[in-house]
Amino acid sequence: MPGPRSYLGVELARPRVGVFDFTSCEGCQLQFVNNEATLLDFLDLMELVNFREAMTEQAGDYDIALVEGSISRADEVTRLEKIRTQAKILVALGSCACFGGVNQLKNRFNDLKWVKKEVYGNFPIATQKVRPISDFVTVDFMLYGCPPRKEEIEKVVTNLVVGKKITMPKYPVCMECKANENICLFGLGEPCLGPITRAGCDAWCPNNRRGCWGCRGPAEAANVRELEAIMARHGFSREIIIDRLECFGGFAGQVAELRRQSEHPRKARSTGQA
């Protein structure tokens, strides 16, 4: 058992942490055990008491719950509610927990029975419309990304432990992309959601010459209408922008608005002016 910690002479308690998963690829929680260079220091900040992917023991009393995944089955709701009752702080970990993630793509089909049949055939399985965890319980904090960056997880956990305020960028990915002095992907003929997506990923995809798909959801002043005009000027159709906006679920509101405009262009224009 590790000894007590202190910061500037102040005794610090190691928070009891549980990591949980729902409908997801479990890649976000894998970030917890990535980055071997700092792993021991990172784990020494907390007392991990429940982490199915990384340990055998499973305790029920924890202070902080990090929850990965979306909710796609009725039994998941019950388990999530139980975690909420136990945890003092509940953190949504990654795009699925925050917005529904890639899983929520199935919601765009009107007939979910047909979807179930296409995917599972006659296999009996309980599945429903995919929802972010905030549809069922109070979420204290969102750690965005698919997956979140380990550096970001480390910073958030450190701040939680020393009692320091946690802030997330409100500006879009372009800010970090330009700070990294990348060549703009639009100039290279690639569509990119960087101008409207919340930063904090250090422009992970654009750094590698991949256009942003918006996994962190909208930045606070996201100008989707202007991005649509920019996409059109660069020869990308409305379907391309909707396809990207829809991928992780963070832009659900914006997608609904764009679809309304596509279906009722005249009506949308008149409400746009009002």
Binding site: R5, S6, Y7, L8, G9, L12, T38, D41, F42, D44, L45, E154, K155, T158, N159, V161, V162, K164, K170, Y171, P172, C174, M175, K178, A179, N180, E181, I183, C184, F186, G187, L188, G189, G194, P195, I196, A219, E220, A221, N223, E226, L227, A229, I230
Partner: protein, 346 residues
């Protein structure tokens, strides 16, 4: 000013003499989807990588003297006590090879704020004192409006300024260091013929400017047009992404972040460049945001650059390099914005 002329063949020799230091200069960084080459400033190791004929670079050379992220200090904790370490992040001189007049003037403007009272910035000043700058004449691009900003020629702020006369260079020598380096290559005093050719080249270049900004009474005009509908029209387009500030050679606004090391035995204070167009630029303690509207933030960027700074320093905080307009996906350019404000609406 001392002038000298030297053969184009001597330039690689000058580069090699200087290359004992870190050399930063224009290099080709890629090709856009239309097949046009894209240039940027980077560390150059071989003379042949240096592209002195570059039309313009995507970003300014800012990251080499005003980095996007810079450690201001670190702390080591021991028991109840702590110790602070300050590092000005300057270890060796840097040679800037091939800055255009606009970028040299950008440094001169930054100097007024960052090296002078009341708050000289030691991190910037340390780097600035360790720079050796070689200027290079340019070919005006469609986005360039430096002539309107009075920054199309550099009178100071460099060691050596080169004008390409074809087979030879015309050199303006402004520092003793530059003079000493030029003694190591074959130079000669310019002849009347060299002077005439230099004047010809400069006149030809000056004829090529196509973009202008009417700056007459601009500070007063901006005062009068504070409520102009043009601000809202541009604000509707603005993405609040900070791209303009990041590519700008004169934007210096920043934020400071304090982080605690994972092992809790150290901490750091890091400065990062920020932009007045970002949503929370004017958010203060307690959460109040003085400029929540995009149009207001965009307007204040113009007020700082073309009104406030002019009143404080008698020159705008803009060198007319046009990088912000080139980089802005929404197509917001300084000449268009200022013209529309003058015309009361876009």
């Amino acid at each position: 000013m001392i002038f000298a002329t030297f053969s184009a063949k001597e330039l690689p020799r000058l580069f090699d003499l200087l290359a004992a230091n870190t050399v930063v200069g224009p290099v080709k960084k890629g090709t856009d989807s239309a097949g046009r080459p894209l240039y940027d400033f980077d560390v150059v190791y071989r003379f042949q990588d240096l592209r002195l004929d570059y039309p313009a670079t995507i970003h300014s050379a800012k990251r080499h003297f005003l980095p996007h992220r810079e450690s201001l200090c670190t702390f080591t904790m021991q028991g109840n006590d702590w110790e602070k370490q300050v590092d000005y992040n300057i270890y060796k001189p840097v040679v800037f090879f091939g800055l255009h007049a606009c970028d040299i003037n950008a440094l001169n403007k930054l100097d007024k704020v960052l090296t002078a009272p009341p708050y000289p910035n030691p991190y910037y000043t340390a780097k600035r004192r360790n720079m050796f700058i070689i200027g290079q004449d340019c070919q005006p691009q469609p986005q360039c409006f430096c002539r309107s900003m009075g920054t199309d020629t550099a009178l100071r702020g460099f060691d050596l300024f080169l004008t390409d006369l074809g087979d030879r260079y015309f050199a303006e020598i402004l520092s003793a260091t530059a003079y000493q380096f030029l003694r190591k290559i074959a130079t000669r005093p310019p002849t009347v013929k060299d002077h005439d050719r230099y004047k010809e080249v400069v006149a030809e270049r000056n004829r090529r400017f196509t973009t202008t900004v009417d700056t007459s009474d601009l500070t007063k005009l901006l005062d009068l047009e504070f409520e102009s509908p043009a601000w809202q029209q541009w604000g509707d387009k603005c993405l609040s992404c900070g791209t303009c500030a990041n590519v700008c050679p004169t934007c210096y606004c920043y934020g400071v972040e304090e982080t605690v090391d994972l092992d809790l035995t150290g901490a750091a204070k890091t400065k990062y460049l920020y932009s007045c167009n970002l949503i929370d630029f004017a958010e203060v303690a307690g959460g109040h945001n003085f400029r929540p509207q995009t149009a207001t933030r965009l307007k204040y960027r113009y007020y700082h650059k073309h009104r406030g700074f002019v009143e404080a320093y008698e020159e705008p905080l803009c060198v007319g390099c046009g990088r912000c307009g080139e980089a802005c996906l929404a197509g917001i350019t300084v000449p268009a914005v200022l013209a529309s404000v003058r015309a009361r609406g876009a």
